[in-house]
Subunit: 198 residues, 2 copies
């Protein structure tokens, strides 16, 4: 027996979401079938809200309902420090620390030669323009500690160097809750190199 088309179509949609296979997608649909129809209306409303209300901030290129976004509009934030990140969720993660009072720049990805993402696909030009225009004193590279993050950082450093702006990057070391015994050599050697006097 083939499933009814309306069920199959929605399974196919859920199936496209990252990490969701056929079986989990089926579970979602049968869960929704058991809910009151108003639940599906809510879902549709939220999806349309996302589609219609979310813009890209003209300054930092993060997702926002306004442009400029709430961070870029905030006069309390220090516009002389720009933190370059790969994507929106990274901004959220950094904001959760409450340790940063500068502004952001969302690059929209990391350089990944295998997937054909070269620097021209990222918002590097826009970053350089921001650095040239404003009185920016520091650029923080807050990029993943991966091959792609490293490659992107190297590229950005090369591009920003001529502007004579301070470039910093997030510290490498032992993550909270980790055992030295099980730490990999690269992490441990970063932690050693970056050791601090108490």
């Amino acid at each position: 027996m083939a499933l009814p088309d309306s069920i199959q179509n929605l399974i196919a949609q859920f199936n496209k979401l990252p990490g969701i296979g056929q079986k989990t997608a089926e579970r979602f649909v049968f869960y929704l079938l058991k809910q009151p129809k108003s639940e599906i209306d809510e879902f549709v409303k939220s999806l349309n809200g996302l589609k219609n209300n979310i813009k890209i901030c003209s300054e930092c290129f993060d997702f926002s309902e306004t442009s400029p976004c709430s961070i870029c509009r905030n006069s309390q934030r220090d516009k002389s420090i720009i933190c370059a990140v790969a994507q929106g969720p990274d901004v959220i993660a950094l904001e959760k620390t409450s340790e940063y009072n500068g502004v952001y720049h969302v690059l929209n990805g990391l350089i990944n030669q295998i997937e054909g993402i070269g620097p021209e696909k990222l918002r590097v030009k826009e970053l350089i323009n921001r650095l040239k225009k404003n009185g920016v004193k520091e650029v923080i590279l807050a990029l993943d500690a991966t091959m792609e993050g490293e490659t992107t950082a190297m590229y950005l450093i090369k591009e920003i160097k001529p502007l004579n702006i301070k470039i910093t990057r997030l510290a490498r070391g032992l993550p909270m809750g980790s055992d030295i015994e099980y730490a990999d050599e690269i992490t441990l050697s970063s932690a050693l190199k970056g050791r601090r006097e108490i």
Copy 2:
């Protein structure tokens, strides 16, 4: 920083799906934000399709776009055998075996005293009515091999017994690919009791 409302609303919707936490819901939303807007339209269309097109079959109570459903309408299916299942996905699982040519009856759950699901919340009365009306020869109880499945089976057997209809249930035994060494005692004892001559 609080996330934009439109993003938070959709995260909340995904968060309601079974097994989906805050973090995964966020991933889904940021995935959708990266897709062309037509992708969100597709999603909305599928959700509305589910809401508007899916009915409950008047005979077997399975989800379907037509009532009666394609199985109940199929004149090739043997109407004298009814297979009672807890829910729609069980029908799909059984249909995939291509071993069954009768019809189904979806009970809409299993008896679960802890969650307050008594037999009156299941479609037991509807099953008894079907058994009384048609020339039904056999009822197959295809219920989960769990406490809830057992309880429901016991209850159904008690209700159906007076009608003098053959009642059968799915065999218990070793599942395909399992090791005897690691089989639990209940499974192994079922496999022993149900052993077959070759």
